[in-house]
Symmetry: C2
Amino acid sequence: MATIKDIAKHAGVSVTTVSRALNGYSDVNEKTREKIKAVARELQYSPNLLARSLVMKKTKTIGLLVSGMRIEGSKDNFTYEVLCGINDCAGERGYDLILFSTNSEQQQQKTYNQLCQERKVDGVILQGIKIDDPYLNEVVESDIPCVLVDIPIESTSVGYVTTNNKAGAKLAVDHLIDLGHRHIGMINGHEQAFVSKERLLGYQEALVKAKIDFQEQYVVNGSFLESEGEVQAEKLLTAYPEMTAIFCASDLMALGAMKAARRMGKRVPEDLSVAGFDNIMLASYSSPTLTTIAQDRYQMGFESAILLIDMLEGKEGAHKKVLKTSLVKRESTSKTQST
Amino acid sequence: MATIKDIAKHAGVSVTTVSRALNGYSDVNEKTREKIKAVARELQYSPNLLARSLVMKKTKTIGLLVSGMRIEGSKDNFTYEVLCGINDCAGERGYDLILFSTNSEQQQQKTYNQLCQERKVDGVILQGIKIDDPYLNEVVESDIPCVLVDIPIESTSVGYVTTNNKAGAKLAVDHLIDLGHRHIGMINGHEQAFVSKERLLGYQEALVKAKIDFQEQYVVNGSFLESEGEVQAEKLLTAYPEMTAIFCASDLMALGAMKAARRMGKRVPEDLSVAGFDNIMLASYSSPTLTTIAQDRYQMGFESAILLIDMLEGKEGAHKKVLKTSLVKRESTSKTQST
DNA sequence: TCAATCCTCCAAAACGTTTCGGAAACGTGA
DNA sequence: TCACGTTTCCGAAACGTTTTGGAGGATTGA
């Protein structure tokens, strides 16, 4: 509760001097500086960042606009792990995080710009928003520095971080092809996600490379949901009994697909190989354990924060970062029986 | 970027009138109010909450002090789910959340009071901190309103939310006893958690009720870690081959225990019944699926926020909330073979 | 000795709000 | 006409900082 004024009074100097002393300016005598510091300690002074931010026009805060901050998110943990990464980087660089809850109706009435301008965040990281989200238009028009997770938009004030989804998907399908599979279905995510398109491209690319014809009807939409993955897998497997492998654009859908297979009396991986994408925690605990493409969500968060803060502090550099993926072989994929 | 001054100028009134008009005071003519609102819309005005907070001495923000904001947390999701609950409630009530990262060294040098006072949060929710955490002393001494998750401290300015851990543990052990088990081990969490003590009490109570002697050596410390659960389970099972059931104070440790059993050639549940605590996502995906005590982490978060905001807004009421638990029977527990 | 330079320090303005105390303008009842 | 209450507005202070532009005194160099 002690203010800079109190310190000034106790130390017998002006507020200017107190401010400059505590902020390490050179135009204050070392002795008075020590005196002032001592008084500050004694009065348990801590600066009022509101006041400071008001005049400095910098708050040292980063806004977090997360669209999927729901309990269902604890299945894939995407949001949480990204958040951890952001949090760690922000902490290191001296920024605090402020969470904008976009769940409540109250907040949803506010525009993106209102949210940011009111709290005067220095920059924003957006995660989990869909391609058709109205916020997205505002983002590109606004000049508030901003980093998007998994949405490739780039300008002077906006950058993005994503994984190499196409390469990742290709990695998975290559793996299935290597195992001898020729009839490979795909359960993709919904179309409001950029990553869905990329993963589809990777799937197609792998097929082309192996000289396998792309069959449109082999690709269905599982909306990134476990339940929907199960439904769609059943449809696929009944419609196309020749299918011996399914690549799913998320682990959750892959778990659903395995459920469907089990229910239909198909053994995984003997009768059906299943590969996922994400490498979520559950993937290594399910039975059989799930072969999948690992993407480092923590690092995505961390890199997002790096990117944003670099932008805020005027460091030059690319406004995008594409992370690598890797194949994690587990039990859910194996060679085709026919071989 | 438009300020209240700009509006005043454009509308031909004073800043006072603008402020009072926008904030719904009655001493402003409806016509001028409409005029002012129109100008505000036109200029895309949004209030500067920094300035407002500075004079009002309220920021409408809640600080979040989370100690376990780490990637390992995605195994049990405790932090994330609590966060979701807090976020939803805070959103409804018009509060924003500000995350204090206590991971970084920078921040760790700051005291609890410094963190809170600098950002001028109205109140704080603490989660994941241990009993011996130095912050805890500050909390009780400070008069910043605060709610603790899973640490029972109560005063005029501090409240807490927790689950009925004793009852929950008893529920689990009762279940094991009902299944015919008499030699029941316990892998408890570390001693820096209040919940460990409670769960131990529940375990003992259940034994007493069933007239089973409490054996101190049957209880070991697994530090809430899966790996340590595995280690300790193996020790227990080799030292006391008569043991047919283990109650673990967390699902993660229970998963570790099941691993140990598998490695030692013991079948779960035929040779060994295992019960956990928490009902984390993994519990329903492991094989065998895990019998456990469910606690609603989302609700813990939600209730924490309710409690805190009620305190902030001067509503009278209890400063604590104890949530119920329930038994979730799954595959990892069964009747003893001998019966 | 004088001017220039350096070292310390400070008063005041600014940031964008809210709020206190008052003050015009107007009607109203006696 | 006067006293009084209502309605509607406003000036100025306050919140706790940073920063600008300078000022006074000590030191230095010639």
